[in-house]
Symmetry: C2
Subunit: 547 residues, 2 copies
């Protein structure tokens, strides 16, 4: 097959890496996603750059670490001059199209201050996407969500009310007809108050298929990158029948926690244990209510992927489209005494990542597992290389912190990164702030390679996990005397990661050559430290004679 | 006296901290600057955030570290959305006016991409100043500099040619009438080819006085911050008579270097030793030519300060104007086997800083020496507090990395910073790049407190100086086995400095309260980890009943 022309970039929300059968879930069978992995590469150490929706996505879509782009909490606006996926791909002739979630918030204060045009503002507000259909999946307010595309469509299908997103798709109903608001967990085991085909995942996938059909039919046949960005299995955790009822306790992976974790827990970890979502999921009854719905929502996604891939086969798109399947972070579900995501254990910070590349160049890696650490910021550089039809991302784009994955997918020799980095800004989290940390002190950084995971804080002791000997991450070696040397090694790695030219965002290598490395400066007459003309480099003397 | 209304912010260029008599120079007497120190506070450990013109000034004028604002090399454009001195002071009713140098380069690529208006572009290009008179002091090209204000004025005074800046102000002439181009050092001991009163320093000071006179005469009497930013004693090192001939070898501070420094020198330090400016100043003959001119230029600045301060007394401005006197970095002049600036020893990275505050609140500190470490990024927060008439800088301006100096000047109890930080991006320097370092690896960070100076590099060993026991910085303890614990302590401090909320540039503390710390989220209906309504916090239940 020739090289990919289009990119289908599928992202689930809050999908744990280990809740797919190709990643080893023993009871949750996901044959369609598994089949994609058989045809592509399955990455075994893919880390997000922050295990929280907003910052995770801001990093993916800018190709930059949290400490580079600064959009570090949920609802933190992205700086006005950050480059987005459209800024990278559109100039290379590739459309960037969205169906689903981005969580992108523009920085209105600076858009106003800088007097930025209406057209440019819209582009920035949508993160560089043509928003075919945007849905951030947060619509508790009937008033504000009345005219949302999905609500309009649901009303066309016969659902009543201002906000059927909430009252139907994200509410459940028991046998007696009692309705449960999906924002609470008590109703999680009952089926959604909606027909399966009208629920959020099939709707979002349908919109993606509609776009692909239109794009294929259009005269221009312009290449596209479609971000099919699903809201589920993120909360509200409500699955439509039959998916609500497919799994029960016997299908669960056992909760991964120990009492020893609570003893001498790192103070920030301990503060997270006190959060409401953590104490909630400490209750097995609640896990028994919520996990079947979570697993059902994943099963539904897999079925929808089956439909989508079959549609793409029919349309001939499997031959010219790179398909990426991943998630923005995982979910603790009671592991390590935590709920939700927001901390650094693998169930939260590591995600599934599968990449199918139709190109013959990828044949050697089909069905293989890539064990080297990769980061989701590596996706934009990969897409840039696809859009450009050659390797350009790393050389030309000084603001990209990631590396193109194509050399791995094409089984080429490449000096790869030694570790993945993930950052958490917890300045908006109540637990650690109650410890008395200022917003400036509320930041942490994880570095993970194939052996260790090192987590550093501002003026607090680090955490350390030996991933090789303790893959369940139950023993924090952050104070263990035998590991002082290891901690020191990883501290050095982390400090070197920070001491980096990535802060230089307005000068590329050719600019550096022009202003300082070449003799351009001397030729222009800025001559520093020379005694007389004869003391100048020969080429500058020659140049001065000619001028 | 009441609190200051105006600010006169004087910056010399390349003025070493120890080349003023109030800082201990035994032969170079600077009574006017000394007198300012007697009336104000003299800071003994003031560090620039980079010892290179462009990045030093970008840090001063944005109030942010190099790794925050990214304008890290000479001619690196400032990011479009960085806030400048005008963005901070103008909204508080204070004009920001420039006479002299800023080195500011706008990022045209992003101004174009974002479609920013012509008016806003001009504001950004001048760094938020009304450029009463801008002179970056780099005018080797006659063609490009023909219409520069200073050249126009020089021609009005009778100097001929397209570029009298170069051919008169910055050239010298010997007794026989031979002209020497000031870009070369051979002519440094001869007088400038210009009358003293027409040379660059008096002209720039005159422009500043003209502005003050106009501002005093105007009806509005709007407060102002005037940046009187002198080019000298920066190269071209040419002093007008009589200043060229006031000093000779007997007046020099001895060169500060040892052969031991060359043995086992840190590889980056060694690479800098190989630069042309370093090998040039290794030659004592060249020092003997250049240092008298350098010292003369400083003496001329001091005399001009005398005139300026006398003028301000006459105008009543000493009663309502804060005066800051500082420099953007120093000069090695052969110390430590280096020329120019660009590295971390005190002669390069530490600068004079004197602040006179007319307010009665400052009476207790007049004539005192402040030994705690301060950073030039502390100036903008200080100015914000003056402009606001109260302490607001640290609370409200999330992008300011510095701290207001007013509590120190007003002798108030304050938890002050423990150290100063300075960074160098050497990706545009030939020596270290010739070692094979990539542009990403060419970054370094210094942390200095009252005892130690620790310098860290990307994947290279650190440097360490014991400032208390080796104030001349002749012994690098970066590999000394006895100092392993000290190095480890400072490595921790530096890593904590990096792990910080300063990367979060679009959310202030009230935004964090709104999105995460308060119960606003739950009140809006985004409810995470609750079983049912009864499980909600009381205030949210109450709120839901009312809605």
């Amino acid at each position: 097959m020739p090289d990919a022309k289009n990119i289908l970039f599928i992202m689930s929300d809050q999908l744990r890496w280990d809740y797919l059968s190709c990643y080893g879930h023993p009871h949750l069978h996901t044959p369609n996603i598994d089949r994609l992995a058989e045809r592509g590469v399955r990455f075994d150490r893919a880390y997000v750059q922050s295990p929280i929706c907003g910052p995770a996505r801001a990093s993916v879509l800018t190709g930059r670490y949290l400490s580079s782009n600064g959009a570090s909490t949920n609802f933190a606006p992205l700086r006005v001059d950050e480059l987005n996926i459209g800024d990278y791909l559109n100039p290379l002739g590739m459309r960037t199209v969205l169906t689903g979630k981005t969580h992108m918030v523009p920085y209105i204060k600076d858009l106003d201050r800088l007097g930025i045009s209406a057209e440019q503002r819209k582009y920035i507000a949508e993160g560089g996407f043509e928003a075919e259909f945007r849905d951030d999946g947060l619509h508790p307010s009937a008033e504000r969500s009345k005219n949302h595309h999905y609500n309009v469509w649901l009303r066309e299908q016969g659902y009543e009310g201002d906000n059927p997103w909430n009252t139907h798709a994200n509410s459940s109903v028991d046998d007696a007809g009692n309705i449960y608001d999906g924002w609470f967990l008590e109703g999680a085991k009952f089926p959604a108050n909606i027909k399966e085909e009208h629920s959020e995942t099939p709707y979002t996938v349908m919109r993606a298929m509609e776009f692909m059909k239109e794009a294929s039919a259009s005269q221009s046949a312009e290449p596209w990158c479609l971000h099919l960005s699903l809201i589920k299995p993120h909360w509200p955790i409500i699955a439509p029948a039959p998916y609500n009822d497919m799994y029960s306790e016997k299908d669960f992976i056992a909760v991964n926690k120990s009492e020893a974790e609570k003893e001498n827990a790192h103070p920030v970890f301990e503060a997270f244990m006190g959060h409401k979502d953590s104490t909630t999921y400490a209750d097995d009854t609640i896990r028994e209510h919520a996990l079947p719905a979570y697993m059902g929502l994943i099963k539904q996604i897999d079925d929808q992927m089956g439909k989508l891939f079959a549609f793409m086969e029919e349309q001939g798109l499997m031959d010219n489209t790179m398909i990426v399947f991943t998630s923005d972070h995982g979910d603790y579900f009671g592991d390590h005494h935590l709920g939700e995501k927001d901390f650094f254990h693998d169930c939260s910070a590591k995600v599934p990542l599968i990449i199918y590349d139709p190109s013959d160049a990828a044949n050697a890696t089909r069905g293989t597992v890539e064990a080297r650490p990769v980061e989701l910021i590596d996706l934009i550089p990969t897409f840039v290389d696809i859009a450009a039809g050659k390797a350009v991302a790393s050389d030309k784009n000084i603001r990209l912190d990631g590396m193109s994955l194509l050399p791995l997918i094409h089984n080429q020799d490449v000096k790869w990164k030694d570790f993945a980095v993930c950052e958490i800004d917890f300045a908006d989290r109540r637990g650690p702030r109650a410890m008395g940390l200022s917003s400036h002190e509320s930041w942490s950084v994880m570095l993970a390679d194939e052996h260790y995971k090192y987590i550093a804080f501002h003026n607090l002791r680090p955490m350390l996990f030996d991933l090789k000997n303790d893959p369940m991450e139950l023993t924090d070696l952050g104070e263990h005397p035998d590991f002082a040397d290891i901690r020191n090694q990883y501290k050095d790695k982390l400090l070197s990661w920070f001491i980096s030219g990535r802060w230089r965002t307005t000068m590329d290598d050719s600019d550096l050559e022009r202003v300082g490395l070449g003799v351009n400066r001397e030729k222009k007459g800025v001559i520093i430290g020379y005694w007389d003309e004869a003391d100048l480099p020969a080429e500058v003397q020659e140049h001065r004679k000619l001028n």
